[in-house]
């Protein structure tokens, strides 16, 4: 194909002994949207880093851009060539203004004598935001924006650089449905303007909806590319995993939940959530759905004792529950698995053993000293039970794949045998195989009589796993669904505040 904008010819990348990419051949034409899928560790991020100039490929392969061979030595060169990338984790300068962040790395308008022309800088920034119908004051400090606003500014920033190829790595991970719709509308427009798009996502329905063609990576190799018209979810999953995987959510637990374990009565925290009441029963999985920013994680943190409750009251196992710290919660048999693994759960260069045993050192210690032999066997047990795959327990936890990191954190908390488990996005950024294993663990957890509160933005997951679903909208409960009312449409409507009054 002579019209192709980007061509990769046997591009490889090796880290020490691991070959992250092996001989990738790929092409992408102007105005085309290519979906790149694969499990975690399949090499997607590495490929993106090579294309965006963050890392250099091994010798031997060639990248043809616009027909000429290129070697990007830095992100700067890739940007200059017209390749814009929105990385999975947003990087921004929190103390600078929106305008400065938007134009960071570009030439700022100058006055005749060389000084920065501040009014024109802000004017320029306003124009760029206006193209995306964003109305954010450009003099605001960036760290003061909501996470959705940050994501939108990041997209506006990347799209404005006269890009001819736009790479998006999991751009919707922290966006809610209407924001995703808006993003897709922007992408659609760019495509019609002739911009090529490389779209990476775990969300297969987005891939099906948005792309023209799909490329599947597995273990660093390009397994297949085919037009989206020929793709089905089953085929994609089979190519990613290498085996067909049943998409059925496991359910082996009893149908009748037990007594209420956690009861909330009109709980509120000014500015975050208000008037939250529900009962969580033993052996039950209660789904907590809602848009990002609806107050789900904040509510969880309040139950876990990290945020204060200004209003209302809680009861845990029949007793009044007024935790002052997470320490209280753990002692009372309540655990919380936070949403961001790397930032909120792990010290990446500590060993897998330390990462797991920190959850139950109180049981391993005598007179303040940890009994090492018991620790070893306890950790080995926990790793086996929760299927944490690591070379050995001494290796840094940061070297594990996302799925195994997540299972290690689950092991850390579930080994405490808690009565109430709050899971916040337990499968975010986790590959398909590990996801199924985590779902199985959650089902077993409820089956053994624990009460589970499941927070998730993955609609099929929340629908498939939960017995009941609470939907939060702007910090209040918009609706509760059980039985056949648990449909995708109902949850989306309620999350957007469009569902009629609470039943």
């Amino acid at each position: 194909m002579s019209s192709s904008l980007l061509q990769l010819r046997s591009v490889s990348k090796t880290f020490g002994n691991t070959r992250a990419l092996r001989g990738i051949d790929l092409e992408l034409g102007a105005g085309e949207v290519l979906g790149l899928i694969g499990e975690n560790g399949a090499g997607k991020s590495t490929l993106i880093k090579i294309l965006s100039g963050v890392q250099a490929p091994d010798r031997g392969g060639t990248i043809l851009w616009n027909g000429g061979a290129v070697q990007f030595a830095s992100p700067h060169e890739a940007i200059a060539a017209g390749i814009a990338t929105i990385h999975q984790e947003l990087a921004y300068c929190g103390h600078l203004t929106v305008a400065e962040n938007l134009l960071l790395g570009e030439r700022w308008p100058r006055r005749a004598w060389g000084g920065v022309h501040w009014p024109r800088l802000h004017e320029e920034a306003r124009c760029r935001l206006a193209r995306f119908q964003l109305d954010i004051p450009t003099t605001r400090t960036f760290s003061g924006l909501t996470s959705a606003q940050k994501q939108e500014v990041a997209i506006a920033r990347a799209l404005n650089r006269n890009a001819r190829l736009l790479i998006l790595d999991e751009p919707t991970a922290s966006l809610s449905e209407p924001e995703v719709e808006r993003l897709f509308a922007h992408l659609e427009r760019l495509r019609s303007e002739g911009v090529a798009i490389l779209y990476v996502s775990h969300r297969l329905h987005e891939i099906l909806k948005l792309t023209n063609r799909i490329a599947v990576l597995r273990d660093g190799e390009l397994i297949a590319t085919y037009p989206t018209a020929d793709a089905t979810v089953n085929r994609m999953v089979k190519d990613m995993v290498g085996r067909p995987l049943d998409q059925v959510y496991p359910r082996h637990r009893a149908r009748t939940p037990g007594a209420p374990v956690l009861e909330l009565d009109a709980v509120g925290h000014d500015g975050l959530f208000a008037d939250i009441s529900f009962k969580l029963r033993a052996g039950e999985i209660l789904g907590l759905a809602g848009l990002v920013g609806a107050g789900r994680s904040e509510l969880a943190r309040a139950i876990y004792g990290l945020y204060p409750c200004h209003h209302g009251s809680m009861r845990l196992k029949g007793q009044p529950w007024k935790p002052r710290s997470a320490h209280d919660a753990l002692a009372a048999g309540l655990v919380y698995l936070p949403e961001e693994r790397k930032r909120q759960s792990l010290v990446l260069d500590h060993s897998v053993r330390d990462a797991i045993s920190i959850g139950f050192t109180d049981r391993l210690a005598r007179r303040g000293m940890i009994r090492e032999r018991e620790e070893q066997s306890a950790v080995a047990d926990a790793m086996r039970r929760h299927d944490v795959r690591a070379g050995n327990a001494g290796q840094p936890v940061g070297t594990l794949s996302g799925g195994n990191q997540q299972k290690a954190i689950l092991a850390r908390w579930l080994e405490r045998r808690p009565d109430v488990v709050i899971l916040d996005e337990p499968t975010r950024g986790v590959d398909v195989g590990a996801k199924a294993e985590i779902h199985k663990l959650i089902d077993q957890l409820a089956g053994s009589g624990r009460a589970v509160l499941l927070i998730s933005s993955d609609l099929p997951e929340v629908l498939g796993m939960s017995d009941r679903i609470l939907v939060l909208h702007h910090g209040t409960i918009a609706a509760e669904f059980a039985g056949d009312a648990r449909t995708q449409e109902n949850v989306i409507l309620a999350a957007s505040g469009l569902f009629p009054a609470r039943p």
Partner: protein, 325 residues
Amino acid sequence: MRFWLLPLILLGEIALFTALSGQSFSPASGATSYFRSYFADLLCQSAPVLLLAFGMTVILMTAGIDLSAGSMVALVACAMASFPAGPGFWWTAVPAGLALALLLGATNGALIAWLDVPPIIATLGTMILYRGLCFVVMGDLEKSPFLNVPAYEWLGQPGGAALLLALTFALGGCWLKRSRWLREILMLGGNPVAARYAGIPASRRIVQVYTLAGGLAFLAALAFTARNSSVSASSLTGLELQVIVAVVLGGTRVQGGAGSLLGSFYGVLIIAVMDEGLRGAAQWGARNLPFKLSHLEYILLGLLLVVGVWLNTRGRKPADNRPPG
């Protein structure tokens, strides 16, 4: 951490400086007694720094730093020096010194944990404050009641110094290495947010760490005053940097989350041997070099620090070079 690196540097130093000092061991038995007194001296000389290095290592593990260590020791010593000498010193000045030291340490901890002041700023402030209080207590005087306290001098002799060090390093170190407390400290230093999600009582631990450092500063004050017998308001200025250099040289990271007590031990000794050795080799230097050999100490210290830390970090790959998780 290359475990052989620090002992090797230490041995190399001892060999080099023994050679340069022009010591001759004509009867072979002379060597044993020479080295016995050499090490005894080394231990007494570096006891205060070693004790402070213990506390500083734990503080660095929490991603903190203590710039007030030197001022703290000086203030405790000054406070004790204002008590009258005599046997009564043991049950008035010494307990008062301990209480003061714990209070000073806890103040650092409280500023950092409860008021959320970054450690480098909090302890910079208390460094100036504590040093200022030394002048308030002492004025321009130099006091030495320690000479007239029975058995006090023994603390500065090899036996006493060895006892202090054995108590802290052998017993304290053994307990600490396997303790749950240290695990929590390391997680707190490695990722404070994750530590709070993991239910670690962060504020309490931080206050404990700095109070512990206060207690060790008290021991250091004992060791220092027992050996030097007099103290003034400007004693021990700059000691904190010496301690920090030793601990960092020993392989403890300033970013927190990891560290080694044994490494700090070696770090202090390496600096002490160099200090002592340059003094011993002064004659050789005067004959062969165009500058005072003792002036070389600063340069060697700087080089040692950079080279030591560099060798320790070289094995680790920078984070962005890792294969994606």
